[in-house]
């Protein structure tokens, strides 16, 4: 099938599936809804898999037959299509995982939950595939509107509603910023297509309009990507969202924010009249490192498993931001693989946490101490997931981390250390929790009533009714996701394809030529030609082993002798934790501060 068919189909399939479920769900029994949702999810995976071979360069689909100057053009390269495929695969995993997960809403509303998940998928896929800035905003909002509702799913408990409200308000606030920025760019160029916007900016010098528009447009992406100080909503939302929704939020939605930053920078702002490379590189390297370290430090201190995983996502997002901030094909290729592998590993870990919630009604690390000894298989998978998070070879996370480290180390020899520390601490934290929960490592934890921390106790199990056997899919899906994480590291074709895709992604001239016609290529910087590394290196393997070893050491140390060195870092850590106050006003103040600071910092560098 031609790309003009496949690209819009990838969005239309889940949209249509959502409608089918909303209507048919009124009469179909629960099983029928699950079968229908799974069929639609499989259909979209197939559609995107068929698209994949067509994305050597940039595949385009002018919608309605209109050219880019007038209408909307979908444009997919390997990275965009790959991210859409990742989203589709995770949605399939989530739909299968939740086959027997929920018992509400039932009756004639049984189709509502899978329908919402499919709408969420349409938003993510559309965002990854569109070549139009305003259209990207529309899909950003579609992702948002569905994600807020999915987050607040458990209505009996006030916490999910609070988390969903924070999520909704902070993201909407950022979306308005983005809309203002789009307005500024449109006023200057009269265009909305990404490639045409880039060409339009080239006629002017870089002035405050461009800087302000850049910061405002990027704000929405930074909030979605949970980059410090825009990240506060994420742990609050992830801690309370139902487990299958967390798998999607952490596994791919947050990463779409990072993708948005890179895509918009390369297509719109990378040429003359945009944001200078050095300004972008310095600013986003700093933001990335800050995010990575904050995420890791906060992750270590969590006892609520979902909050722990949420902060680990923030830590990894920081590393992804560092990877794209390098502005090289190598860094972009490594990050792309890292994102895909991390998505699989993180979704698997959330899925396994869902098993704990299902069995014990708790996601509290000390509260579950030694209680899950009977779930040996789940424990083993949890440990594997933790090691994957730490970047152990041959997991895809290890390869992605190695490639990104290698790219980062060229200009900044200290950056690989950040990668090792952050992956070791986040992996070590999860490992620590696994050892305590599934094997009862170390001493019995004492209650710490005075600590300002979020416990994971008193959570409602997400399913009801008489105690039943564990649905096999709740273990099979995480296992399959972890296997996918290994495959991403072991099948060289994947890394090779993404490396080629990164070459196209970082070549604004190729993008412009594909969307606007060959004559437009001359107005953009050509990409850097040359081979992009796509295989394991000795250094990469060693650093991966080092991270994993450090993670094991940290976990063992933490379980055997916790108090002494905990106290040493206690004061600063507690200060950092207090900043995550849960107060919506605080979060918005930080968001505004971040926008103002970014405006000032980038303006100072132009």
């Amino acid at each position: 099938m031609p790309t003009a068919t496949l690209l819009p189909l990838a969005v239309a399939i889940p949209l249509f599936g959502a409608v089918l479920l909303a209507v048919a769900g009124r009469v179909l029994p629960r099983t029928g809804c699950d079968v229908l949702a799974t069929a639609v999810a499989v259909g979209d995976v197939v559609c995107l898999a068929l698209l994949w071979p067509h994305t050597h360069g940039v595949a385009t689909a002018p919608l309605g037959g209109w050219p880019a100057q007038v209408g909307i053009v979908l444009a997919a390269d390997r990275l965009g299509a790959g991210l859409a495929l990742l989203a589709a695969c995770l949605v399939l995993a989530v739909v299968v995982y939740s086959w027997r997960y929920f018992d509400e809403p039932s009756g004639e509303r049984a189709g509502v939950f899978p329908a919402m998940v499919l709408l969420f998928e349409a938003g993510m896929v559309g965002f990854a595939l569109t070549g139009d800035l305003f259209n990207a905003f529309v899909f950003f909002e579609l992702m948002g509107a569905t994600a807020y509702a999915l987050t607040g799913y458990r209505i009996e408990d006030p916490r999910p509603l609070q988390g969903a409200l924070t999520f909704g308000v902070v993201n909407s606030f950022a979306a308005y910023c983005s809309l203002l920025g789009i307005g500024l760019l449109y006023a200057r160029t009269g265009q909305l297509n990404l490639a045409a916007l880039g060409r339009g900016l080239a006629g002017h010098r870089t002035d405050l309009l461009v800087v302000t528009a850049f910061v405002l447009v990027i704000t929405a992406m930074l909030v979605k990507a949970a980059v410090v100080p825009f990240h506060f909503w994420l742990p609050d939302a992830h801690a309370v969202a139902p487990t299958p929704v967390c798998m999607l939020l952490s596994g791919v939605m947050v990463e779409l924010g990072v993708y948005g930053i890179a895509r918009i920078h390369w297509t719109v702002f990378s040429g003359p009249g945009g944001v200078p490379d050095d300004a972008f590189r310095r600013t986003f390297l700093a933001l990335g490192v800050l995010t990575a370290l904050t995420g890791a430090a906060m992750c270590w201190q969590q006892r609520h498993l979902k909050r722990m995983l949420a902060f680990s996502t923030i830590g990894h997002v920081g590393l992804f931001v560092v990877g794209i901030a390098l502005l090289t094909p190598d860094g972009t290729a490594g990050t792309a693989l890292y994102v895909a592998a991390h998505g699989c590993a993180k979704a698997a870990l959330f899925g396994l946490t869902g098993v704990l919630l299902d069995r014990y009604g708790s996601v509290d690390e000390p509260g579950l101490y030694g209680r899950a000894r009977e779930l040996r298989l789940v424990g083993v998978l949890f440990v594997i997931g933790a090691l994957a998070l730490a970047g152990l070879p041959p997991f895809g996370t290890g390869l992605g981390k190695g490639l990104t480290e290698d790219a980062a180390g060229h200009g900044h020899p200290w950056l690989p250390a950040v990668f090792v520390v952050v992956s070791a601490v986040t992996g070590g934290t999860v490992l620590r929790a696994a050892l305590r929960i599934f094997w009862g490592f170390g001493e019995t934890p004492r209650p710490r009533p005075g600590e300002p921390e979020t416990t994971g106790e008193g959570e409602e199990p997400e399913i009801r009714g008489p105690r039943r056997a564990l649905p096999p899919m709740m273990v099979a899906v995480p296992a399959a996701l972890l296997a996918g994480c290994v495959l991403l590291g072991c099948v060289p074709a994947v890394a090779r394809a993404l490396a080629g895709g990164a070459g196209t992604f970082t070549d604004p001239a190729a993008y412009r030529a594909a969307v606007l016609g060959p004559a437009a290529a001359a107005t953009a910087h050509p990409g850097t030609p040359g081979p992009v590394p796509d295989a394991w290196t000795g250094a990469g393997v060693l650093l991966g082993l080092l991270s994993a070893a450090l993670a094991v050491a940290l976990a063992v140390l933490a379980t055997t002798r916790p108090p002494t060195w905990h106290r040493a870092i206690g004061a600063t850590a507690r200060g950092l934790r207090r900043l995550h106050s849960g107060h919506l006003g605080d979060y918005l103040a930080w968001l505004a501060l971040g926008v103002a600071a970014l405006c000032a910092v980038i303006a100072a560098q132009t």
Partner: protein, 249 residues
Amino acid sequence: MSARARLLMFAAAAIVIGVFYGVASAETPSFGRASHPYGDRAVAASLAHRTANVVSSVNFDIRAFDTLGEESILFGTVLGATLLLRLARDERRRPAASERVLPTTRLFGVIWLPVALVVGVYIVAHGQLSPGGGFQGGVVLATALHLGYIAADYRVLEKVRPLAVLDVADSLAAGAFTAMGLAGLAAAGAFLKNVLPLGTFNEITSGGTVPLLNAAVGVEVASGVIVLLAHFLDQAVEITGNDEPEEAR
């Protein structure tokens, strides 16, 4: 953070953002200039498809994919409200009581409800010709029904809004938009392509698929907004907590 610190931090940041945005806005093209890059292209494209209302042409033809996204947001919002405002385990439904209304108020409702409905249908149907369209007309239609609540009581509103039908209509209209997009793909190889005969300029049948997409959005917005409001009104009027005393409502 204390309330004062929070306010100071936000105010300082807001001033900086305001200054940047103000300076940036001053750099935009001034009002009333002769050059309108997108306007010129859009008007030409709209006339080429014989659609008199250029805004509708942008919404339902040139950039119809944006509208597909937007109506999906509305569809998702309605589903989300269904999900979040479902009857919780500790809640129960108490039918609304009939209320006394002044006869003049009732007369007002009886006269204006049909008028408002006709206005709504007119605005949807003439979207391709004059200001208005599916979004605007749909909201008029939805609010028209609520005259029943304002001029009478909640029981009357419940009689004039068949929720199950509207719920299905909302979904089907959302699906119809996608289906027409697919029809364009099948007939002419481009998603959402305007494949129908374009008709005579400034006639109600002009614009090809524009009136159809317009109507789909009109049905979706009207039924979606009614269902959405129904969920919220139910929460306010009929649904009570288990432990809440009845008179505390």
